[in-house]
Symmetry: C2
DNA sequence: CAGTGGTCTAGACCACTAC
DNA sequence: TAGTGGTCTAGACCACTGT
């Protein structure tokens, strides 16, 4: 844990606990530097994190203030929490997976383009039904290049692909591009998600990247409309 | 324009133009500091921007590399481009607005909570149908505190509220929290969006904030499912 | 070992705001 | 004028990597 992270955590705690008045600026950076026994740059960096989290804002010439609406709500680190896969998102919930399809094939033109591979590179093709607490939740169709990921088997598919990537393969997930849309249910949705012909579907199309910028996943997640909300936090810099 | 911004821009240009080999690290930070006649910290800060944009990635002990998929695609500053309102998102398209409802009322408990105001503060209540190129696109229901925004009239509603906020009122938009879900169409949707009873709706619920952290808008945007895709870019730090 | 990026310092000057 | 945050410097040491 770096010093600026420690200070950042301590300041977050103080802000949430109400240590500082909400109508006045928090102590200035030089004072905090003296208190924490560090340089002003380190304080600045620690506070930068809280500004990015939406907990503080700065006014040049005035000081640094607490964002009133930022205190309530316990969404600590919301900004970074996003691309962790279903298993990461829903801890403390019981997730089971049913493998509907699992094969290796040559990618279509579209899939090859999204994964930045040529059509001779085989890809895993996986369709899974994910149940949360025993209830059908989402159907995920996933394409992954075999030469980037590798080692996928039924055991992995029954637990978490993301865990396999980060822990077994030692790769770091870098980010994702997503498209979110509403759609009518297809036959697969109606069969496995147990939804009526007029129940909408929330589809998330995603290309996920390693921190090297190499795409490792192209997927479509089709959610029951009554059980899933996609949440984003956007903070201007 | 600060020095680190200038350097960041110059480096972005070089990367896109192919000045540096894509298979080797770009020059190390000390060399760049010498070339640009600045300290290493300033170089680091300039490169931080490009890392956040997904154009570069770092490997401790190795160097700094170009993200291959980051070169193609001209999505400069994608990350910041998001919350600009419909008018900002769809430039070059002809947008017209039909005002379905426009009044001032005392907020419900839910609306007051989202806007962090008490129930005695009046809010604008606006329902607009937005047409793109003459076709119905989205119904927006918006609540805004009169004491934060002010000066809303029919003329503003027919053009762009966001423009009014930033240009006329001189306020800066800071960020937004959004929830995206699929839903069945209600009567208003069917009437104005011209959709069938089994056409899904993509709803975006949003609380938008000024850079001071004060919420200024709580809104629900209900889109035709065949005309709108919500896109996000997520880059891990 | 040398070379890379990650963190941190102690201080400087500037831009903006209030008094 | 005094006080704030914004930027920048010229170094330092550490953590990690490959040879």
């Amino acid at each position: 844990m770096t010093k600026y992270e420690q200070i950042s955590n301590e300041m977050r705690k103080r802000i949430k606990e109400g240590t500082y008045s909400i109508d006045h600026p928090i102590p200035d950076e030089l004072s905090l530097a003296k208190e924490f026994g560090c340089s002003r740059m380190t304080i600045k960096r620690a506070l930068d994190i809280l500004v990015m989290e939406g907990l503080l804002y700065r006014k040049r010439g005035h000081g640094t203030f607490i964002v009133k609406s930022g205190i309530q709500g316990n969404q600590v680190n919301v900004v970074d929490k996003e691309n962790l896969g279903l298993t990461g998102l829903l801890k403390h919930k019981k997730i089971t997976s049913k493998i509907i399809q699992f094969d290796v094939l040559f990618p279509s033109e579209e899939v090859a383009a999204q994964l930045s591979i040529d059509s001779n590179t085989p890809v895993y093709h996986i369709i899974r039904l994910r149940n949360v607490e025993g209830e059908p939740f989402v159907i995920e169709e996933t394409f992954m290049p075999t030469n980037v990921i590798g080692g996928i088997n039924e055991e992995v598919l029954h637990s978490s692909i993301y865990q396999h990537i980060s822990q077994t393969l030692g790769l770091t997930i870098g980010g994702a591009h997503r498209k979110i849309r509403a759609d009518k249910p297809n036959e697969l949705d109606q069969e496995y998600l147990d939804c009526a012909p007029d129940d909408p579907i929330l589809e998330v199309e995603q290309v996920a990247y390693l921190n090297t910028g190499i795409p490792f996943e192209y997927s479509f997640s089709r959610h029951r409309y009554d059980k899933f909300v996609f949440t984003t936090v956007n903070i201007r810099r």
